[in-house]
């Protein structure tokens, strides 16, 4: 396979970073893990045969890096890795007061995302949160693209409704 261009990396990097951010819950660790992913990918690019989309291949490398990171940190065991969990990231340098001041609206939205049916949440996390295209998400989730489209649509509708019920005055 031809090496990725700078423009492609500039598009893929934020997607992988956001996935790492969800899994590590910390921007600095997410950056380290994402950088490792790309360095590993560049070094073994010749082994990439193009049978899957580059983002699928990169995603797999990222998951391995995150598992290594889990092991090194001894935070969580690799077996409990929930690939599509919706989590809140906070920088280690974050001002505690700012963390406390997180708006109620943001908390309710995270609750609403976590209350989505698992399969719907996965499609939403992959596309809207992480920023993969529907085609990339379909391959990552092993689903037809139409199913991804329908689940993302459902997620958006449910979240809008949940927020409308929680904050009717903002209508």
């Amino acid at each position: 396979m031809e090496r990725a261009t700078q423009a492609q990396i500039a598009k893929w990097y934020p997607r992988l970073f956001r996935t790492a951010l969800r899994l590590t819950r910390n921007p600095e660790d997410a950056a380290d893990v994402t950088q490792q992913t790309f360095y590993k990918a560049f070094r073994s690019w010749d082994m990439f045969d193009g049978s899957v989309l580059p983002t699928t291949w990169l995603h797999q490398i990222l998951l391995n890096c995150v598992r290594d990171w889990y092991r090194r940190r001894s935070v969580r065991s690799a077996e409990t890795l929930d690939e599509w969990a919706v989590t809140v990231a906070a920088s280690r340098d974050a001002d505690p007061a700012e963390t406390v001041e997180r708006s109620e609206q943001a908390d309710r939205l995270v609750d609403a995302m976590n209350n989505l049916p698992t399969l719907v949440k996965q499609a939403f996390a992959a596309t809207v949160l992480d920023g993969y295209t529907y085609q990339e998400a379909a391959e990552l989730l092993g689903l037809p693209i139409g199913t991804v489209a329908s689940r993302v649509h459902q997620a958006r509708r449910r979240l809008t409704e949940a927020m409308r019920q929680a904050f009717p005055e903002t209508e």
């Binding site: 990396i9 500039a10 598009k11 360095y39 809140v88 990231a89 943001a106 920023g131 489209a149």
Partner: protein
């Protein structure tokens, strides 16, 4: 009202737009659709809002700075095409690493900071994509803001057309109407295949991003066949002459606009406009420091020869 399938399909295309994926044709088609269709615009607005709020709630806004900074070394490694640092140089934080590795990590961070400054345009991330697209849409709306053809205007075109229609037998006239000036001629016989029974008005506006009109001209051509015209000096843009090429058929017209005479400084756009549809942006170019949007509309004035 969109049906479910159309809506899902459009959501997929708009999401690809938010991911910065489509090629320039698809991007232009989507922006044109969104700028002219309230339902599509509302859908895009909802999608951007959902994405922005969901990411903000998950702490992505605070992480954006780290994302940009960490992408720099990766992009610079590709740009340099040289040997890549080892994975150990970017090993997880808090893990015990050797002094050499620590030094390398700091070197990497310093390099990252330098690269970020240099590659700020590349490192603009999708966090800003929504805002950029909304700004782009607002810009397109301004540029495409062309008033409808008034009844008085149509009458005046018909009168002009009647006058020039009294020319040589079986000839097919064309009329150019610019700022306070106009001229007309006849389509070469070989090209004049149609009856010339109907009239097509091609309206052109060259505007800035804020909708300020720099130049405007209209061309009246007969339909009912294929009409090819090469019109030099249809107007002037910042002192440079404008040349217009028209190939009009029944349902559409292909138009090209070129500004300037020197090959080194000539700029232009080319595209197709469909008769009866709203104004479309043919393209943009830079002229003397300003971005110029070229907007065209094809309006069929059926049976106007009278």
């Amino acid at each position: 009202m969109m049906d479910d399938d159309t809506r899902l399909d459009l959501e997929e295309r708009l999401h690809a737009l938010l991911c910065d994926e489509p090629d320039s044709d698809e991007r232009r088609a989507l922006l044109a659709l969104v700028s002219g269709d309230d339902e599509a615009r509302q859908l895009l607005h909802e999608m951007i809002q959902a994405q922005t709020q969901a990411r903000a709630a998950c702490g992505h806004d605070e992480a954006a700075r780290v994302l940009r900074a960490s992408m720099g070394p990766i992009l610079s490694a590709i740009r340099a095409g040289g040997p890549l640092p080892t994975a150990g140089q970017v090993a997880g934080r808090g893990v015990r690493v050797s002094r050499r590795r620590r030094r390398a990590r700091w070197a990497l961070r310093v390099a990252a900071a330098i690269v970020v400054l240099a590659s700020v345009s590349v490192a603009v991330t999708a966090v800003w994509t929504g805002r950029r697209i909304e700004a782009k849409l607002a810009e397109m709306e301004q540029a495409l803001n062309m008033p409808q053809v008034s009844a008085a205007e149509v009458d005046s075109y018909r009168q002009i057309w009647q006058h020039v229609g009294e020319g040589p037998a079986r000839s097919r006239p064309w009329v150019l109407l610019g700022e306070g000036a106009g001229r007309f001629g006849y389509v070469p016989t070989a090209d004049g295949a149609g009856s010339g029974a109907d009239l097509l008005l091609l309206r052109c506006r060259m505007v800035t991003a804020t909708g300020h009109i720099l130049e405007t001209f209209n061309v009246l051509v007969p339909t009912g066949g294929r009409t090819r015209l090469s019109l030099p000096d249809v107007g002037r843009l910042k002192g440079h002459p404008i040349h217009c090429e028209v190939a009009a058929a029944d349902a559409c017209a292909t138009v090209a606009v070129m500004v300037g005479t020197e090959p080194a400084t000539t700029a232009g756009v080319k595209g197709r406009v469909m008769t009866g549809e709203g104004p479309v942006e043919l393209g943009q170019f830079r002229m003397d420091g300003d971005r110029v949007h070229v907007v065209f509309q094809a309006v069929g004035l059926g049976g106007s020869i009278g």
